[in-house]
Chain length 335, copies 4
Amino acid sequence: MLVMMRRTHSPEELQALLDTIEKLGYTAHVLPGEHSLAVGITGNHSSEDREKLNQMPGVREVIPVSSPYKLAGRSFHPEDTIFQVGDATFGGNHFVVMGGPCAVETEEQTVRLAHAVKAGGAQILRGGAYKPRTSPYAFQGLGIDGLKILATARAETGLPVITEALDLPSLDAVYEYADIIQIGTRNMQNFALLKAASQLDKPVLLKRGLSATIDEWLMAAEYLLAGGNERVILCERGLRHYDPHTRNLLDLGAVLAVRKLSHLPIVIDPSHSLGHKSMVVPASRAAVAIGAHGLLVDVHDRPQEALCDGPQAISPEMFSAMVQTLRRIEAALLS
Amino acid sequence: MLVMMRRTHSPEELQALLDTIEKLGYTAHVLPGEHSLAVGITGNHSSEDREKLNQMPGVREVIPVSSPYKLAGRSFHPEDTIFQVGDATFGGNHFVVMGGPCAVETEEQTVRLAHAVKAGGAQILRGGAYKPRTSPYAFQGLGIDGLKILATARAETGLPVITEALDLPSLDAVYEYADIIQIGTRNMQNFALLKAASQLDKPVLLKRGLSATIDEWLMAAEYLLAGGNERVILCERGLRHYDPHTRNLLDLGAVLAVRKLSHLPIVIDPSHSLGHKSMVVPASRAAVAIGAHGLLVDVHDRPQEALCDGPQAISPEMFSAMVQTLRRIEAALLS
Amino acid sequence: MLVMMRRTHSPEELQALLDTIEKLGYTAHVLPGEHSLAVGITGNHSSEDREKLNQMPGVREVIPVSSPYKLAGRSFHPEDTIFQVGDATFGGNHFVVMGGPCAVETEEQTVRLAHAVKAGGAQILRGGAYKPRTSPYAFQGLGIDGLKILATARAETGLPVITEALDLPSLDAVYEYADIIQIGTRNMQNFALLKAASQLDKPVLLKRGLSATIDEWLMAAEYLLAGGNERVILCERGLRHYDPHTRNLLDLGAVLAVRKLSHLPIVIDPSHSLGHKSMVVPASRAAVAIGAHGLLVDVHDRPQEALCDGPQAISPEMFSAMVQTLRRIEAALLS
Amino acid sequence: MLVMMRRTHSPEELQALLDTIEKLGYTAHVLPGEHSLAVGITGNHSSEDREKLNQMPGVREVIPVSSPYKLAGRSFHPEDTIFQVGDATFGGNHFVVMGGPCAVETEEQTVRLAHAVKAGGAQILRGGAYKPRTSPYAFQGLGIDGLKILATARAETGLPVITEALDLPSLDAVYEYADIIQIGTRNMQNFALLKAASQLDKPVLLKRGLSATIDEWLMAAEYLLAGGNERVILCERGLRHYDPHTRNLLDLGAVLAVRKLSHLPIVIDPSHSLGHKSMVVPASRAAVAIGAHGLLVDVHDRPQEALCDGPQAISPEMFSAMVQTLRRIEAALLS
């Protein structure tokens, strides 16, 4: 449920409320708004308890919330979540471009590409050190060495780094080196990983499962928020599809549904969703036009040598031209 | 197979080739290009026949084509199909806006909305006289009276009209009154209807089946082209989906796949695909940004009174503002 | 709505009710049950009219029915629909085996296979004379000549014949020659075809669309029933699927949902759904075990020569052995 | 690749081969067959190395294997994997029935149900101590206390226990208490969990992901096999579906595809796939008929009180009657 405080409530009244909530065995989430303050309460609760809170001084109203994602939904939190990572602003009307190689291969390659994407307009550097692979025999990433290379690339370019954590040990390592922790499609409902990431003070990008409903996805985000991590970025990366002409089915309509239901920023991965270099640029244009908050895009200058997903990477030149067009579309939307 | 003529071929050489193709029992499709002329040949053919044609004067090369959609694919026809309907140009870099009520209800309503969408920037008036309905008990459209109302609206506004034909009798009627014949999702593989429409000299808009592959869709277009109707517009209108937050799953990636495989124009129906008024405008922005050739959009000024699909219709005011933004995005893509 | 008559009602009271329903502008469907008689009413109706009927003599109760498929659903018709075609009984606890070639090729082939499937336990002969083909260039069936061959095979074996109608002209021809009219997947929502078939006095087998919901399918059956054709057989034939190891996704759970919702018999097509000869026999065993009312199975003795779908046809020997096992499973379910 | 040994090879020749494989940096898997011995080799390998092994004494032939699941596929291992757990035999022509409550609630409930399912013919007791829940606020299981209750139920009935591990800590606990470790749908591609389970000497039941392809599923099994755990049971539990009349789409055709591609046993979960009590019995009959190796079924005597998935649990009476019918169908298949 959601407790709406009076505008005139005192700090003591708030504290008394929080104490009572705790005594009743619930968890309180203080939700400051522009004009008023609300307290979200999670845990099962009786109507008796609800009435008790309703009688407390400073309380304007107690609202039962039936949404299964109380913290990720807009009921508790009508305004967009907006936060900074380096120069990038996630949420609201901002559009963040994250680019880089699918997999970190060598320091030389990563630093070279980091400079290239920065010059092309990227605000965040992406690159995988731990790669989830369908086959146990495929290249699984450089691991900790890859993270160190990403740190070097950040030092050289100033770009914050996003990279994927696969499990609890790699989460610890990624937390140490990265600026944004990526949780991949296959781990969307890895609840142990979500709970661990919910305790960290770095933003988490949560990819949608291959055939997850939007409710399931927001519920997975709820695990992060319920644990205390409020800086969650959602990432649509394509659904399981029967048609061979695209790798997955990019669900841009999900951006609209998520923006209606949730206050969290949502970005698009045009590379993994469609799987073809030639589709990345127009899909990215559609992403900004439909109102996504950003892009996560594979960039490689020697795709034929890439250790992972070469055919879907665009060149730094394509990337740079693309970002310019994206910024023009952004302007066209506002004017 | 595809016969590429020499640039220097004479009309007599071409005629002799066509005669030979006919004698061999095949069908020839003359395909004039900007710089050269090709002749596409449909029907099963032997390698012997292929060699025979290869030896004829004026022939540069005979190319076997394995694509299952010889006429709809780019092999025979690398350049975009471009054609006019009234002031609208389908294909190439043009973006056509078609708008109007889902169903024709009364003359007053239709003429009123026709004026409104014209003022808002529509180039074609849409409106259903024959409605395919899942339930036998639902409103099935005004039929011939609806077509007459559409003709009146055209006379009053000058807008060409697109409306759906459901079966052979309604195809005859629609052919008489409309400027573009629409074939709906459920009829994508109604081969009798496709064959009949292939004989007509009016353009056909062919919607994608609810879970059709892109190959199946282009093959359905092939039925139209093989019968002689070359003015085919494809329309993506959303796929069957498991998520309740959108009515169907808008497959914008299909625009990219179709543009790569086929020379035919492809438009988007943001109204039937997503099913919510609030999603129509951003989805339309994404359609132009990703490179679709146009839009087919439901517009209604009294959606609560609409006899069909009211919740997905946008108002004339939203329509008008939307078209202005779409034109700005178009400009942003070109600059 | 549904009018339940008193057990003691007189024929005059019934007639008066029917007259009143007609005067109110509705359509009445008399539904005799084992112990009582009901009258189903289709058309939109006011609560005022409902009250009027409720007051009539002989009427026990008027029940509003919200199901979108009033005639196909169990509300109006709680008991299974059961009917005979030749020696075969559709519905109830009966299991009908229909077998034969996917396409009629020659008289010799068809008669030979008809004898073979009869000897193997088939009760109905299947064979396609009109073939719906994704490509305009594929073999489209022998048409009327194929129907005549099927009639010959029936004369020689005594087996009733099921074959597909594609459109209105072929429906007329199929009606003349066949015992059961098949309407295929692509035509499940070809409403003109459904309406025409609803007027005929031969049973119709209605295949499920490639991604149709069960409600849409029952609504398509409703078109047949609402037009007066009560002998409808549903046929599950596999859904669109992303996995390449089966051609389509056989939805055996649909048998359970349909049996719960509807009184109509439902059969399985294991050949087109799975697409591999080796899968047909075990899938047919599952069909009888889960409670389907029958099978429609491709049988061919020279699959490598078949003009259509050879790889999915089982041999007459496999068919014969299969039917014996199916009958043993049937017995195992009953004992 | 796969090294086929001569029948006449000596133990020393085999040892020399294994040493060479190790020196080359690969992993060897000795695969004893009925009539011959093969050695599977995983790791990337050059054609040079392949030739080197081909020349070794005792080697008959070296076969390159392109299947992405070398150990799970039939190429290396043509014969069915068969193993015992208590009185149950998994694989081959055996059909194992596993039943019990979805969630362990109390000792009294679990022991009572364990006795009931044993009396009804269950060979393994199922029950969840750790529950993966879409919502962070839902009942998450009793954890270690639940495992202890399961151990008590095993002691009282003699039934081996299967229960789910969610993550590394619960895997340790489950390993200690259970006889079969279950890995759930959401964890099918939790590679850290798969790798850890691959090191354990207890069988693992691996559920299919909600929209996993069969290749992805077998590749996930490959993680278990490649780590050394050869006792893997696959479990089909329904795919993401758009139709509301069943909870998920039970893909019984997957049993056929898996049996063709892999030697591993495959069982069905009719409870979670269809989600309705009334569908469990007929779906289980279909499972045995189509050739599945067993069932995992929810049984509860007070479903309205169940803490988890009550509506899909069948009663002990239904369970008992069902098992009798399943055994009759088994007999019908063999006779």
